[in-house]
């Protein structure tokens, strides 16, 4: 559990990036943090594992204040995957990259091998096991960064823009995996601009603007509120755009995902036919 009480954060240049943010993240929560560029999203999540310490206010991870412990101690429980994989990767091969944290956390040899094989397979990277991460494409490097964190199975996973550079298939796999983590009561927090991904995943959405939280609610409510989204420089997901326009037909306006869109239209057609 992570509790954040009224935190402020200023960078050295005196720009206040967070202006009083409070949030409680319970074990098993699945949260998407959205908002325009420069809203403070990345600054905010860096407080979850003590990478940044608030200028004022308190962040507690499982009851412990982040100012009173080290990033290393927090790392075992909170896995971070950054926006830009190049800031995270440093090993000579994809395999070494994944092994690194596992070794640091003291896993035995057999477990390490098992976890590496699993992570490589899961993220479709097995063929690159002995390849340098820097020879891979942008999307593949992002998956290496993800693999190296998933391998040690942290209780909380923080993902900064996990879908950047990922194709449709990889996004679907990521979605399924997040659902799987949910069933194990793991916590997942992701920062993302990918409205289409969010619409299919259906998380709780925290909307940030100008260093503050401006909305907190379920995807169905937030992603169909065009005024709120526009103020945060976000566009409605395509399905919501369609249903907003279909209002005159008496169809519900708060449809955001594909399956529901299909059933809603088909049952309307059937009803009209009768």
């Amino acid at each position: 559990m992570i509790t954040i009480e009224d935190i402020h954060y200023s960078y050295a240049s005196n720009i206040e990036a967070l202006k009083g943010v409070s949030l409680t993240i319970n074990d098993g929560d699945f949260i998407a943090i959205m908002g325009q560029n420069g809203a403070g999203k990345t600054t905010f999540i860096k407080h979850f594992n003590g990478l940044l310490k608030p200028t004022s206010g308190i962040v507690r991870v499982n009851g412990v204040e982040t100012t009173k412990t080290s990033v290393a101690a927090l790392a075992r429980n909170i896995g971070f995957v950054f926006q830009n994989p190049d800031n995270q990767l440093f090993s000579e091969t994809v395999e070494d990259e994944i092994v690194f944290a596992l070794k640091n956390f003291g896993f035995d040899k057999e477990t390490i091998e098992q976890r590496v094989v699993w992570a490589l397979d899961f993220l479709s990277l097995t063929q690159y096991r002995k390849t340098s991460p820097f020879l891979l494409s942008g999307g593949e490097r992002k998956r290496v960064a993800l693999a190296s964190v998933l391998a040690w199975d942290p209780n909380t996973l923080v993902l900064d823009e996990p879908t950047i550079g990922q194709d449709h298939e990889q996004k679907e796999k990521l979605q399924q995996f997040i659902m799987q983590l949910q069933s194990k009561k793991k916590t997942v927090v992701m920062v993302t601009h990918d409205v289409e991904f969010v619409a299919e995943c259906n998380p709780r959405i925290i909307l940030m603007r100008d260093g503050k939280i401006v909305a907190d609610g379920i995807a169905k409510d937030i992603l169909t509120n065009s005024k709120l989204l526009e103020e945060s420089s976000i566009v409605l997901p395509q399905i919501a755009q369609i249903f907003t326009k279909l209002c005159p037909l008496g169809l519900p306006a708060n449809v955001i995902n594909m399956d529901e869109a299909e059933t809603t239209i088909l049952s309307h057609v059937k009803k009209e036919g009768e």
Partner: protein, 282 residues
């Protein structure tokens, strides 16, 4: 007029065991807006790197086949010579920015061309405004956000007003509305000034509507090429892992379930919603 002509291209990075581009031919006409898509690792970025000679001059490796861009054989010309014709916006903006201020980054290419100061001032302001970063001009490009860095990279290329602009997932770090605005700016430059645009994107939801020349790559080859309305209704496309726009997918699923919306394959939510209103309104 064909402005990019690639014939039987095979390219292997140094130290790689198999080619990243594996027998690819592509013709792009002057003034086209071409969209390239395909699964992660299919060779899209490598292909972009051949347009201005980064492949093979910078990346080395083994190249077979021919690349003619703006009448120049890329393998014979230095990258800086190609830069007059082709502007490239990379996937990762940090790799592209180096100057002390946003403004200097945008001016860099023009300084190299020896453009007079007054003219340069005008051009830089124009590009900063188009990219929506005029207010950031005195900031360091390394202290602005990832999304803002992408705008700086785009402005730097726009300022050069090249004949061809190649953009490799140029808005991946941008919020959706900003991304849409950038795509609109690029589309406008294409329509009004005839600049040839080659855009690499996974997110066809945002971009399919701008093109009538879609290129789908897989495993270093082109597997589909043509009008997106024809290509996106092909079943093979989903198997390759191309993300079909939600509006197109909903149209296909309704059709499969026995409800034909009765229109050409839609590429945007507006197109589908409009037709649904007509068909469903009794």
């Amino acid at each position: 007029m064909t402005i990019i002509k690639i014939s039987d291209l095979v390219y292997t990075y140094p130290g790689a065991s198999k080619p990243s581009i594996d027998g690819l031919s592509l013709n792009i006409e002057k003034g086209e807006f071409v969209l390239i898509t395909g699964p992660s690792g299919c060779g899209k970025t490598s292909l972009c790197r051949t347009f201005n000679g980064l492949i093979p001059h910078f990346y080395q490796g083994v190249l077979k086949g021919q690349i003619i861009v703006a009448g120049q054989d890329v393998t014979d010309k230095q990258t800086f010579e190609m830069a007059k014709h082709v502007g490239l916006v990379f996937q990762n903006p940090e790799n592209q920015l180096f100057a002390l201020s946003v403004e200097k980054d945008v001016a860099f290419g023009l300084e190299n061309l020896g453009m007079p100061r007054a003219e340069m001032r005008k051009r830089v302001d124009w590009a900063l405004n188009l990219a929506g970063i005029y207010d950031l001009r005195e900031r360091s490009p390394h202290e602005v956000s990832g999304g803002q860095q992408q705008r700086v990279a785009i402005a730097s290329v726009l300022a050069m007003q090249p004949e061809i602009i190649v953009l490799d997932e140029p808005t991946s770090f941008l919020d959706p509305l900003s991304a849409e605005r950038i795509f609109e700016v690029i589309y406008k430059l294409n329509q009004e000034q005839g600049i040839t645009v080659v855009l690499v994107e996974h997110r066809l939801d945002l971009t399919a509507k701008y093109t009538n020349h879609l290129v789908v790559m897989d495993k270093g080859k082109i597997c589909f090429e043509g009008n997106p309305r024809d290509i996106l209704c092909n079943e093979e496309i989903s198997r390759i892992g191309v993300g079909i726009p939600k509006a197109t997918l909903l149209y296909k699923r309704l059709k499969a379930a026995g409800f034909d919306v009765n229109m050409q394959t839609p590429l945007s939510s507006d197109e589908l919603a409009e037709q649904l209103l007509k068909v469903l309104d009794v």
